[in-house]
């Protein structure tokens, strides 16, 4: 890739960021990511019961580090497919909705550069959304509940500094599948030219994959479910820790990213921009 191409991709990212910054839904989503964990932590502190059927739910009043892990478990089920699709599932189809492909593609940037800029913007937004949710979860747990030691999944007491590192690593471990969902949203956005499909179908796909875990289906299929990678962090909070699910989840996620983006680029490159 030449310096000119890098500069071109940077220009596209710049433009996409300016467009996102002007959209209320994007700002609202980030605000929800920042505020929701605090609301959750305050409610947990006030109420007498705890979400005991959730991983680390029993410990939520005993250690603030349990809060980001409970939020992580919930987000893996519901929030990540939405968070990572909101921009990825709309960033291409919005051009179809507004009829602006002919405006964008008659400037000095190639389709490859436009594609790269949009994909990197979508990936960047997904990372930011996950990071905001992670930071807010950790901050709310520590500030509202307190930085007490955490009992891990094998019953070992983990000191606060170690607990913080493991919580951060656990959140970092969901980035690969989150990017896999972003890539899935991108390909659906390009293929369907519909933002509803681009945002909605990854959520449906995520729920379907979650449901499949309850079905006695082939193990091979289960191994290919990207949602499995959202639970790979459990190994980080065990003694001794185990990493195989993390590696497997990262590989499956990488495969989703490569395949989805390759298909999306091929479709965009070959598309005739009509009226």
């Amino acid at each position: 890739m030449t310096l000119r191409s890098l500069s071109a991709v940077a220009a596209v990212i710049d433009v996409e960021c300016a467009k996102l910054a002007a959209q209320i839904k994007v700002r609202l989503l980030l605000a929800v990511c920042a505020a929701a964990p605090f609301v959750f932590a305050v409610v947990m502190r006030i109420q007498s019961s705890v979400p005991s059927d959730t991983l680390f739910g029993r410990a939520i009043k005993e250690s603030g580090f349990a809060v980001p892990l409970v939020v992580l478990g919930f987000a893996a089920l519901w929030a990540f497919p939405v968070l990572t699709s909101v921009v990825g599932g709309d960033i291409f189809s919005a051009e179809d909705r507004y009829g602006t492909w002919k405006t964008v593609l008659t400037r000095s940037r190639s389709r490859a550069e436009v594609f790269a800029g949009k994909v990197l913007t979508a990936i960047g937004f997904s990372c930011i959304a996950v990071a905001v949710l992670a930071l807010s979860s950790v901050a709310s747990g520590v500030l509202v509940i307190g930085p007490q030691p955490l009992v891990d999944l094998t019953g070992v007491l983990v000191p606060p500094s170690q607990a913080l590192i493991r919580v951060v690593l656990a959140w970092a471990s969901v980035l690969p599948p989150a990017l896999g969902f972003t890539a899935l949203a991108v390909v659906l956005s390009v293929a369907t030219k519909s933002s509803a499909a681009g945002i909605g179908l990854p959520v449906v796909a995520g729920l379907t994959m979650q449901l499949y875990t309850f079905v006695d289906g082939p193990e091979m299929v289960r191994q290919l479910m990207i949602t499995s990678a959202f639970g790979a962090w459990h190994g980080l909070l065990s003694e001794p820790p185990y990493y195989r699910p993390l590696v497997h989840g990262a590989l499956v996620s990488a495969a989703y990213v490569v395949v989805c983006l390759a298909i999306a680029y091929r479709m965009l490159r070959r598309r005739d921009i009509g009226g």
Partner: protein
Amino acid sequence: MLDQPALEAAGVSKRYGNREALRGVDLIAHPGQLHGLLGPNGAGKTTLMRVLLGLVRRDAGTVRLLGRDLEAAPGSVADGVAGLVEGPAFYPYLSGRKNLTLLARLDDHDRSRRADCIDDALEQTGLASQAEVAVGAYSAGMRQRLGLAAAVLRSPRLLFLDEPTSALDPAGARDVRAIARRLADEGAAVVLSSHDMSEVEELCSLLTVIHVGRVIFSGTVNELRRRAPAEVHRLRTSDDDAALRLASRRNDMNVVRIADGGLEVSADLEALDSYVIALGRSGVAVRELERRARSLESLFLELTGHGGAAPLSTPAAPDAADRGLESVSMS
């Protein structure tokens, strides 16, 4: 000797399924010239513009823009080439100025000059006072002006204008024509498709007529005019029978009675003048004389099969006359 062509398209073909949208289209435009692109609805004008701008992939043919093959930079439009494609579209939640700012960023405009260039484009297109308004609140005419501003922003040496005055009021259309003419005067090649035959006649020195994806005429306006049939006028007199008898003694015109009353006269202006004078001398008063189709319009309608089966030398066909055309809407 003419300069190197700004646009050279040869044998351009495009097929959508079983339908041939373009069939071996050739088009050449030179710097400093306004080249008109005419054709009825579905003729392939917009498809051709989209092919030339790289929005639609062609199945065959070669395209050179400003001396460079279209494939030299696949998927991007060469610097100096700009287009206003049918129904310009922008981000409705951003202001006109913000839209142009983002497009300038995509064009890699020098940051220090970007604001000045945008101000200049807004000023030229008469949008300066509305620049901060969200595009979602723009009328179709304002979006058309913004589309032109976006094209002007690229300082084009080759400019494609696809029906640029279609959504504009007369003042807006006049401004667009002035900009197109100024750009051509400054050396740009301008390829313009238009709804308005009179606009193309007024602006363009060269014409290409497309019908069913095929070029059916290419040449100067004067060449087209030489092939044009006589103009058609509707005539009402105090004694239509006498007027018909008088016309039957002349061989320089064709006069027929029409269904809604009165006569239809197909003749060039010189013959028409002479006929009107003769009517007066014979005691037949001319109560109404209205032009119904101009010669180029008549020819265009014949060329594109909208004028019935009449050969080129015959007067305008009934459906042309039926529209009472001063300027014919073609696409």
